[in-house]
Symmetry: C2
Subunit: 174 residues, 2 copies
Protein backbone atom coordinates (compact mmCIF):
# COMPACT_ATOMS: atom_id res chain seq x y z
CA UNK A 1 0.00 0.00 0.00
CA UNK A 2 1.37 3.44 -0.84
CA UNK A 3 1.73 6.13 1.80
CA UNK A 4 -1.22 8.10 0.47
CA UNK A 5 -3.45 4.99 0.36
CA UNK A 6 -2.56 4.39 3.99
CA UNK A 7 -3.56 7.95 4.88
CA UNK A 8 -6.83 7.68 2.95
CA UNK A 9 -7.73 4.54 4.86
CA UNK A 10 -7.53 6.46 8.14
CA UNK A 11 -10.01 9.17 7.13
CA UNK A 12 -13.30 8.61 8.89
CA UNK A 13 -16.60 9.37 7.17
CA UNK A 14 -19.14 11.07 9.45
CA UNK A 15 -22.60 11.12 7.86
CA UNK A 16 -24.82 14.19 8.31
CA UNK A 17 -22.15 16.45 9.82
CA UNK A 18 -22.25 19.40 10.17
CA UNK A 19 -25.71 19.04 8.62
CA UNK A 20 -27.96 16.46 7.00
CA UNK A 21 -26.77 15.12 3.67
CA UNK A 22 -23.11 16.03 4.12
CA UNK A 23 -20.51 13.31 4.69
CA UNK A 24 -17.78 14.94 6.74
CA UNK A 25 -14.18 13.75 6.27
CA UNK A 26 -12.72 13.41 9.74
CA UNK A 27 -8.91 13.64 9.77
CA UNK A 28 -8.45 13.22 13.53
CA UNK A 29 -7.51 9.52 13.11
CA UNK A 30 -4.55 10.67 10.98
CA UNK A 31 -3.48 13.22 13.58
CA UNK A 32 -3.73 10.61 16.32
CA UNK A 33 -1.59 8.07 14.44
CA UNK A 34 2.02 9.15 14.97
CA UNK A 35 3.29 7.38 11.86
CA UNK A 36 0.51 8.69 9.61
CA UNK A 37 0.73 12.25 10.91
CA UNK A 38 4.48 12.31 10.35
CA UNK A 39 4.04 10.83 6.88
CA UNK A 40 1.48 13.46 5.87
CA UNK A 41 3.81 16.28 6.93
CA UNK A 42 6.85 14.60 5.35
CA UNK A 43 5.08 14.16 2.00
CA UNK A 44 4.37 17.91 1.96
CA UNK A 45 7.93 18.64 3.09
CA UNK A 46 9.37 16.62 0.21
CA UNK A 47 7.31 18.66 -2.22
CA UNK A 48 8.24 22.09 -0.85
CA UNK A 49 11.71 21.70 0.64
CA UNK A 50 13.47 23.26 -2.37
CA UNK A 51 10.84 25.92 -3.16
CA UNK A 52 12.23 28.71 -0.94
CA UNK A 53 8.98 29.18 0.94
CA UNK A 54 9.11 32.20 3.28
CA UNK A 55 5.74 31.66 4.93
CA UNK A 56 2.99 29.12 5.16
CA UNK A 57 -0.37 30.85 5.33
CA UNK A 58 -2.64 28.56 7.36
CA UNK A 59 -6.37 28.83 7.73
CA UNK A 60 -8.12 28.52 11.11
CA UNK A 61 -8.50 26.06 12.73
CA UNK A 62 -7.65 22.69 11.14
CA UNK A 63 -5.31 24.38 8.67
CA UNK A 64 -3.11 25.39 11.60
CA UNK A 65 -2.38 21.75 12.35
CA UNK A 66 -0.63 20.77 9.13
CA UNK A 67 0.54 24.34 8.54
CA UNK A 68 2.56 24.76 11.68
CA UNK A 69 4.12 21.30 11.58
CA UNK A 70 5.17 21.88 7.98
CA UNK A 71 6.46 25.40 8.72
CA UNK A 72 8.55 23.98 11.53
CA UNK A 73 10.00 21.27 9.29
CA UNK A 74 10.65 23.66 6.40
CA UNK A 75 12.18 26.21 8.76
CA UNK A 76 9.88 28.99 7.55
CA UNK A 77 7.37 31.28 9.25
CA UNK A 78 3.68 30.56 9.83
CA UNK A 79 0.99 33.17 9.19
CA UNK A 80 -2.48 32.52 10.64
CA UNK A 81 -5.64 33.51 8.76
CA UNK A 82 -8.53 33.68 11.22
CA UNK A 83 -12.23 34.33 11.49
CA UNK A 84 -13.36 37.90 12.05
CA UNK A 85 -12.39 39.45 15.38
CA UNK A 86 -9.86 36.80 16.43
CA UNK A 87 -6.59 38.47 15.42
CA UNK A 88 -5.58 41.20 17.86
CA UNK A 89 -3.55 43.61 15.70
CA UNK A 90 -4.58 45.68 12.66
CA UNK A 91 -5.94 43.41 9.97
CA UNK A 92 -6.91 43.28 6.34
CA UNK A 93 -10.10 41.32 5.77
CA UNK A 94 -12.14 39.68 3.04
CA UNK A 95 -15.81 38.71 3.06
CA UNK A 96 -16.98 35.88 0.83
CA UNK A 97 -20.18 34.02 0.03
CA UNK A 98 -21.15 30.75 1.63
CA UNK A 99 -24.04 28.53 0.61
CA UNK A 100 -26.19 30.55 3.01
CA UNK A 101 -24.88 33.97 4.06
CA UNK A 102 -21.28 35.17 4.16
CA UNK A 103 -18.10 34.68 6.16
CA UNK A 104 -15.13 36.97 6.84
CA UNK A 105 -11.45 36.05 7.12
CA UNK A 106 -8.69 38.27 8.46
CA UNK A 107 -4.90 38.44 8.36
CA UNK A 108 -2.62 40.85 10.19
CA UNK A 109 -1.80 43.74 7.88
CA UNK A 110 1.95 43.38 8.56
CA UNK A 111 1.91 39.60 8.06
CA UNK A 112 3.30 39.47 4.54
CA UNK A 113 5.28 41.83 2.30
CA UNK A 114 5.97 42.30 -1.40
CA UNK A 115 8.05 39.47 -2.84
CA UNK A 116 7.39 36.99 -0.04
CA UNK A 117 7.04 33.44 -1.36
CA UNK A 118 4.03 31.90 0.33
CA UNK A 119 2.33 28.53 0.42
CA UNK A 120 -1.37 28.65 1.27
CA UNK A 121 -2.36 25.51 3.16
CA UNK A 122 -5.67 24.14 4.39
CA UNK A 123 -6.97 20.73 5.30
CA UNK A 124 -9.78 20.44 2.75
CA UNK A 125 -10.52 21.62 -0.79
CA UNK A 126 -14.30 21.47 -1.12
CA UNK A 127 -15.94 24.28 -3.13
CA UNK A 128 -12.74 26.36 -3.00
CA UNK A 129 -14.46 29.39 -1.47
CA UNK A 130 -12.21 29.71 1.55
CA UNK A 131 -8.94 29.31 -0.37
CA UNK A 132 -10.17 31.79 -2.99
CA UNK A 133 -10.89 34.26 -0.18
CA UNK A 134 -7.33 33.86 1.13
CA UNK A 135 -5.97 34.54 -2.37
CA UNK A 136 -8.06 37.70 -2.44
CA UNK A 137 -6.74 38.63 0.99
CA UNK A 138 -3.12 38.68 -0.23
CA UNK A 139 -3.61 39.74 -3.85
CA UNK A 140 -2.65 43.41 -3.29
CA UNK A 141 0.33 42.60 -1.08
CA UNK A 142 2.67 41.58 -3.89
CA UNK A 143 3.41 38.10 -2.51
CA UNK A 144 4.20 35.17 -4.78
CA UNK A 145 1.71 32.35 -4.21
CA UNK A 146 3.97 29.37 -4.87
CA UNK A 147 1.09 26.93 -4.54
CA UNK A 148 -2.17 26.26 -2.71
CA UNK A 149 -2.01 22.93 -0.91
CA UNK A 150 -4.64 20.79 0.75
CA UNK A 151 -4.57 17.53 2.59
CA UNK A 152 -7.84 16.36 1.02
CA UNK A 153 -9.62 17.25 -2.21
CA UNK A 154 -13.28 16.42 -2.68
CA UNK A 155 -13.04 16.23 -6.43
CA UNK A 156 -16.78 16.15 -7.16
CA UNK A 157 -17.19 19.65 -5.73
CA UNK A 158 -14.88 21.08 -8.42
CA UNK A 159 -13.11 23.52 -6.11
CA UNK A 160 -10.16 23.73 -8.51
CA UNK A 161 -12.29 25.69 -10.95
CA UNK A 162 -12.52 28.55 -8.46
CA UNK A 163 -8.72 28.62 -8.01
CA UNK A 164 -7.70 28.25 -11.63
CA UNK A 165 -5.17 31.10 -11.62
CA UNK A 166 -2.93 29.29 -9.13
CA UNK A 167 -1.07 25.98 -8.97
CA UNK A 168 -2.82 23.54 -6.66
CA UNK A 169 -1.58 20.44 -4.90
CA UNK A 170 -3.67 17.95 -2.97
CA UNK A 171 -2.23 15.10 -0.99
CA UNK A 172 -5.35 12.90 -1.08
CA UNK A 173 -8.10 12.98 -3.69
CA UNK A 174 -11.47 11.58 -2.70
CA UNK B 1 20.47 37.35 25.17
CA UNK B 2 19.05 33.93 26.02
CA UNK B 3 16.65 32.15 23.70
CA UNK B 4 13.67 32.81 25.95
CA UNK B 5 14.55 36.52 26.26
CA UNK B 6 14.63 36.69 22.49
CA UNK B 7 11.17 35.10 22.29
CA UNK B 8 9.78 37.46 24.94
CA UNK B 9 11.01 40.46 22.98
CA UNK B 10 8.91 39.36 20.00
CA UNK B 11 5.61 39.21 21.89
CA UNK B 12 3.48 42.19 20.97
CA UNK B 13 1.26 43.89 23.55
CA UNK B 14 -2.17 44.82 22.18
CA UNK B 15 -4.02 47.13 24.58
CA UNK B 16 -7.79 46.72 25.05
CA UNK B 17 -8.10 43.40 23.19
CA UNK B 18 -10.40 41.51 23.22
CA UNK B 19 -11.98 44.10 25.51
CA UNK B 20 -11.13 47.32 27.35
CA UNK B 21 -8.56 47.00 30.11
CA UNK B 22 -6.98 43.75 28.86
CA UNK B 23 -3.48 43.78 27.36
CA UNK B 24 -3.43 40.91 24.87
CA UNK B 25 -0.15 39.05 24.29
CA UNK B 26 0.14 38.62 20.53
CA UNK B 27 2.40 35.68 19.58
CA UNK B 28 2.06 36.06 15.80
CA UNK B 29 5.45 37.84 15.55
CA UNK B 30 7.05 34.68 16.98
CA UNK B 31 5.22 32.47 14.48
CA UNK B 32 6.26 34.72 11.63
CA UNK B 33 9.95 34.66 12.61
CA UNK B 34 11.32 31.37 11.31
CA UNK B 35 14.21 31.31 13.79
CA UNK B 36 12.06 32.18 16.80
CA UNK B 37 9.28 29.75 15.88
CA UNK B 38 11.77 26.93 15.49
CA UNK B 39 13.43 27.85 18.78
CA UNK B 40 10.14 27.82 20.68
CA UNK B 41 9.32 24.33 19.39
CA UNK B 42 12.88 23.09 19.96
CA UNK B 43 12.91 24.29 23.57
CA UNK B 44 9.74 22.27 24.21
CA UNK B 45 11.19 19.30 22.29
CA UNK B 46 14.31 19.30 24.48
CA UNK B 47 12.11 19.15 27.57
CA UNK B 48 9.88 16.32 26.39
CA UNK B 49 12.02 14.21 24.04
CA UNK B 50 12.73 11.54 26.67
CA UNK B 51 9.34 11.55 28.39
CA UNK B 52 7.63 8.92 26.21
CA UNK B 53 4.73 11.17 25.30
CA UNK B 54 2.03 9.30 23.34
CA UNK B 55 -0.15 12.31 22.53
CA UNK B 56 -0.12 16.04 22.73
CA UNK B 57 -3.56 17.33 23.62
CA UNK B 58 -3.85 20.76 21.98
CA UNK B 59 -6.53 23.34 22.61
CA UNK B 60 -8.26 25.21 19.76
CA UNK B 61 -7.10 27.32 18.04
CA UNK B 62 -3.71 28.81 18.96
CA UNK B 63 -2.83 25.69 20.93
CA UNK B 64 -2.93 23.73 17.67
CA UNK B 65 0.02 25.75 16.35
CA UNK B 66 2.66 24.77 18.89
CA UNK B 67 0.95 21.46 19.57
CA UNK B 68 1.15 20.04 16.09
CA UNK B 69 4.69 21.23 15.41
CA UNK B 70 5.84 19.68 18.68
CA UNK B 71 3.90 16.44 18.02
CA UNK B 72 5.58 16.20 14.62
CA UNK B 73 9.03 16.73 16.12
CA UNK B 74 8.44 14.31 19.00
CA UNK B 75 6.96 11.73 16.62
CA UNK B 76 3.78 11.38 18.67
CA UNK B 77 0.08 11.85 17.93
CA UNK B 78 -1.90 15.08 18.22
CA UNK B 79 -5.35 15.21 19.82
CA UNK B 80 -7.46 18.33 19.24
CA UNK B 81 -9.73 19.74 21.94
CA UNK B 82 -12.32 22.01 20.34
CA UNK B 83 -15.21 24.30 21.09
CA UNK B 84 -18.67 22.75 21.24
CA UNK B 85 -20.01 21.38 17.95
CA UNK B 86 -16.74 21.45 16.00
CA UNK B 87 -15.63 17.83 16.35
CA UNK B 88 -17.58 15.52 14.06
CA UNK B 89 -17.49 12.17 15.89
CA UNK B 90 -18.89 11.17 19.31
CA UNK B 91 -17.41 13.40 21.98
CA UNK B 92 -17.05 13.78 25.70
CA UNK B 93 -17.50 17.37 26.85
CA UNK B 94 -16.92 19.66 29.80
CA UNK B 95 -18.57 22.98 30.60
CA UNK B 96 -16.68 25.50 32.72
CA UNK B 97 -17.18 28.98 34.09
CA UNK B 98 -15.82 32.08 32.42
CA UNK B 99 -15.79 35.57 33.90
CA UNK B 100 -19.25 36.02 32.39
CA UNK B 101 -21.17 32.88 31.43
CA UNK B 102 -19.75 29.47 30.53
CA UNK B 103 -17.87 27.71 27.74
CA UNK B 104 -17.82 24.09 26.59
CA UNK B 105 -14.87 22.07 25.29
CA UNK B 106 -15.05 18.71 23.55
CA UNK B 107 -12.74 15.83 22.70
CA UNK B 108 -13.50 12.73 20.64
CA UNK B 109 -14.49 9.94 22.98
CA UNK B 110 -12.01 7.55 21.34
CA UNK B 111 -9.15 10.05 21.39
CA UNK B 112 -7.29 8.73 24.42
CA UNK B 113 -7.19 5.46 26.34
CA UNK B 114 -6.14 4.22 29.75
CA UNK B 115 -2.40 4.46 30.30
CA UNK B 116 -1.70 6.93 27.50
CA UNK B 117 0.98 9.43 28.46
CA UNK B 118 -0.26 12.86 27.40
CA UNK B 119 1.10 16.39 27.38
CA UNK B 120 -1.57 19.08 27.52
CA UNK B 121 -0.39 22.15 25.59
CA UNK B 122 -1.82 25.63 25.12
CA UNK B 123 -0.39 28.99 24.19
CA UNK B 124 -1.33 30.94 27.31
CA UNK B 125 -1.77 30.28 31.03
CA UNK B 126 -3.99 33.08 32.30
CA UNK B 127 -6.57 32.16 34.96
CA UNK B 128 -6.08 28.45 34.24
CA UNK B 129 -9.76 27.80 33.56
CA UNK B 130 -9.32 26.29 30.12
CA UNK B 131 -6.46 23.96 31.10
CA UNK B 132 -8.38 22.90 34.21
CA UNK B 133 -11.35 22.06 31.95
CA UNK B 134 -9.12 19.88 29.75
CA UNK B 135 -7.86 18.04 32.85
CA UNK B 136 -11.50 17.41 33.81
CA UNK B 137 -12.18 16.21 30.28
CA UNK B 138 -9.60 13.40 30.55
CA UNK B 139 -9.80 12.64 34.25
CA UNK B 140 -11.97 9.53 33.90
CA UNK B 141 -10.05 8.15 30.92
CA UNK B 142 -7.09 6.83 32.90
CA UNK B 143 -4.45 8.79 31.00
CA UNK B 144 -1.24 9.95 32.65
CA UNK B 145 -0.92 13.73 32.41
CA UNK B 146 2.86 14.02 32.14
CA UNK B 147 2.73 17.82 32.28
CA UNK B 148 0.67 20.84 31.28
CA UNK B 149 2.74 23.19 29.14
CA UNK B 150 2.18 26.75 27.97
CA UNK B 151 4.14 29.10 25.81
CA UNK B 152 3.31 32.09 28.03
CA UNK B 153 2.34 32.41 31.68
CA UNK B 154 0.72 35.60 32.97
CA UNK B 155 1.97 35.13 36.51
CA UNK B 156 -0.18 37.83 38.13
CA UNK B 157 -3.36 35.90 37.23
CA UNK B 158 -2.25 32.95 39.41
CA UNK B 159 -3.47 30.27 37.01
CA UNK B 160 -1.13 27.71 38.60
CA UNK B 161 -3.30 27.67 41.71
CA UNK B 162 -6.15 26.18 39.68
CA UNK B 163 -3.90 23.41 38.31
CA UNK B 164 -2.08 22.50 41.49
CA UNK B 165 -2.54 18.74 41.15
CA UNK B 166 -0.40 18.62 38.00
CA UNK B 167 3.15 19.54 37.01
CA UNK B 168 3.23 22.72 34.95
CA UNK B 169 5.83 24.12 32.59
CA UNK B 170 5.80 27.54 30.98
CA UNK B 171 8.32 28.63 28.39
CA UNK B 172 7.96 32.37 29.03
CA UNK B 173 6.79 34.03 32.24
CA UNK B 174 5.42 37.56 31.99
Amino acid sequence: MTKTENLKKLIRDIPDFPKKGIIFKDITPILKDKVAFKEAVDLLFERYKDKNIDFIISIEARGFILGSALAYKLGCGMIPVRKKGKLPYKTRSVTYDLEYGTDTLEMHEDAVSKGDRVLILDDLLATGGTAKAVCDLVKDSGVVIVEIAFMIELEFLKGRAKLKNHPIFTLLTL
